[in-house]
């Protein structure tokens, strides 16, 4: 790995630019450089690993013990990446991507435009929006945020901490807290009962997958140590200056718990603002209840030369993200003439074989942990757009009264999605609310169009790009 220190060290052109140094991005860069492809990896964090392996290169033995084997397994990938020939720039923000594969990159207060003959978007996932009343109160965070605090700072919350929602990450985090001897007040499991029935057909695949034993052991261990409320709905956080209590109903009975921290989680969804901003075609996936970029087996999107891999393509977890990153790198290497057809076929077949058990296990997880429908759209007294502070009731009322067909007209009417988060925290909820009220599929409703910059850049940084582009002034008055 050639660790770059500044934008000045960046070349104008690379054969492959990988955006994101998580499992997919690292695996792709390892494979591409092995084939002699000149590769640059850009990542906005201070160190490699992405979210799942965050701080893996600096983790202490105690931290590795608390976080578990899967996390520790990232160390080898990180080491292989470090030993690869890829160029890497940390703390680099990609704020723009065009169909000509030109990237706007900013770093340390400067901006630069560079081009990749191929671009691989490996920007991972973010927490699915959980728009319950009070989710904006200080003290309410995502389960993913708690994991980041644990990985990067060894920080834990407590003792009055409650986990609410559904999904493997919820149980993983609980087990990590237990491993660190940090008590949890309760887990509010919002998984609907009927999910079990829907998931059963995929049980054999799950049992044959590496997820099975791990998951079973984890849940059993947590259930023994923590009070778990099952079949939870009517969830709401309350408090004035910060969260003070959570109210909910469990199997029909009302409850209220006093607490200091409420961690929410009901799955993750692809982070796709960059792909949307360049106009990649997307399709709605009703199994995972989110959009997926349309891509070929090798990850090429609807825009030639732009590829996607990892959880940014579909939520399959870290292990499959590695396979996906490597698979995309093979495709890219072949398209650049860096490997021949026979080697490509051979390696792809091998990858497919190795990844199969993981894929089978995922179908079960998607169905078992399908989020509760009522938590996918905002309650009347919940903010749907955290940035512009648009209430669920306003959203419902406007859609109904002005016969709003889609999120872009809604954005014009209510400003939802116009704030600094660029719709990341409300896009899915808004699309699903319109779909619900219109009685159509989210596919028919569409999503916000995403405008550059997809990440912050200052007026001054954009102004300074002008030295390369004197022509721009001609179109101004």
């Amino acid at each position: 790995m050639i660790s770059l220190q500044s934008l000045m060290n960046l070349d104008d052109r690379y054969e492959l630019i990988v955006i994101g140094a998580g499992p997919a991005g690292m695996a792709a860069a390892i494979e591409a450089t092995r084939n002699g492809v000149k590769t640059l990896v850009l990542d906005e964090n201070g160190a490699i690993g992405g979210q799942i392996y965050r701080s893996i290169t600096t983790a202490t033995p105690k931290r590795l013990a608390v976080l578990g084997k899967d996390y520790a397994g990232g160390a080898e990938l990180a080491r292989t990446f470090t030993e690869s020939g890829a160029a890497y720039l940390a703390k680099a923000t990609v704020w723009r991507l065009t169909a000509d594969r030109e990237l706007g990159v900013s770093h340390d207060g400067m901006a630069k435009l560079i081009t990749g003959e191929r671009v691989l978007v490996a920007t991972g996932a973010l927490e699915r929006p959980f728009p319950i009343a009070g989710w904006t109160l200080p003290g309410v965070m995502t389960a993913g945020a708690a994991q980041i605090l644990l990985k990067a700072s060894g920080a834990v919350m407590g003792p009055k901490m409650v986990l609410a929602g559904s999904g493997p990450l919820l149980w993983l985090l609980a087990s990590q807290y237990l491993a660190a001897d940090v008590p949890l007040l309760a887990i509010l499991d919002t998984t609907p009962r009927k999910n079990v029935l829907r998931a059963i057909p995929h049980l054999p695949g799950f049992m044959a997958s590496p997820y099975f034993r791990k998951g079973l052991g984890l849940v059993t261990k947590v259930r023994r140590a923590v009070r778990v409320y099952k079949n939870v709905d009517k969830l709401r956080a309350e408090g004035s200056e910060r969260v003070e209590r959570v109210r909910f109903s469990a199997s029909g009975k009302e409850h209220s718990l006093e607490l200091d921290h409420l961690l929410l989680h009901h799955g993750v969804v692809p982070e796709m603002n960059l792909l949307r901003s360049v106009g990649c075609e997307m399709a709605w996936d009703e199994e995972q209840i989110c959009w997926h970029p349309i891509a070929s087996a090798g990850g090429e999107t609807s825009i030639p030369g732009i590829y996607v891999a990892g959880d940014g393509r579909a939520i399959y977890g870290a292990e499959l993200a590695r396979f996906g990153g490597r698979r995309a790198a093979l495709e890219i290497s072949k398209s650049l003439g860096a490997i021949d057809g026979a080697a490509f076929e051979h390696l792809c077949a091998q990858l497919e074989q190795e990844s199969r058990p993981f894929i089978r296990g995922r179908f079960f997880l998607d169905r078992m942990f399908r989020p509760r429908r009522e938590h996918l759209t905002p309650a009347h007294d919940a903010l749907v757009c955290r940035c512009e502070e648009v209430l669920g009731s306003t959203l419902h009322d406007t859609i109904f009264r002005l016969k709003v067909l889609g999120p872009n007209q809604l954005k014009a009417f209510l400003r939802s999605g116009m704030g600094p988060c660029q719709g990341r925290q409300c896009s899915l909820s808004v699309t699903q609310t319109i779909a619900k009220l219109r009685g159509v599929s989210p596919e028919d409703v569409g999503a916000y169009r995403i405008r550059p910059p997809v990440k912050p850049i200052t007026v001054g940084q954009i102004a300074n790009l002008q030295t390369r582009h004197k022509r721009g002034l001609e179109c101004l008055q």
Binding site: E44, N45, G46, Q51, S55, T58, T60, K62, R63, V66, L126, E127, T136, L137, P138, G139, V140, M141, T142, G144, A145, I148, L149, A152, S153, G154, A155, V156, M157, G158, A180, V182, E241, R242, D260, H261, E271, R386, C387, E388, E389, G419, P420, C421, R424, Q425, K455, P456
Partner: protein, 99 residues
């Protein structure tokens, strides 16, 4: 209300949070440093003045905006602490850099 697990100690640096000097660990994000220093609200919103705090810790919610070394609206979760850093929360004060 956040605390560190005992043996995660590494190198520390001093930063200033709203004119208070605190000791934090190298590798902490500013958001983590704020939470570990007992700061619960990191800003109030421009729209309604409601209190907010770090939510996602990974740069996608833009809730943890604070002023770092005079530059307003920096994402605290995306910036690592550095020795002598001056961090100001954005509570009850519009982050105007123009006045």
């Amino acid at each position: 209300m956040l605390r560190r697990l005992d043996d995660f100690s590494t190198q520390t640096v001093r930063i200033s949070i709203d004119d208070r000097t605190v000791e934090v660990q190298v590798g902490d994000s500013v958001a983590a440093a704020l939470l570990l220093s007992g700061v619960t609200t990191t800003r109030t919103t421009v729209v309604s003045g409601a209190p907010r705090a770090p939510y996602c810790m990974m740069g996608v919610c833009f809730e943890c905006l604070v002023t770092i070394d005079g530059v307003a609206n920096r994402q605290a979760c995306m910036v690592k602490v550095e020795k002598g850093m001056n961090v100001r929360t954005q509570i009850d004060r519009h982050p105007g850099r123009t006045t």
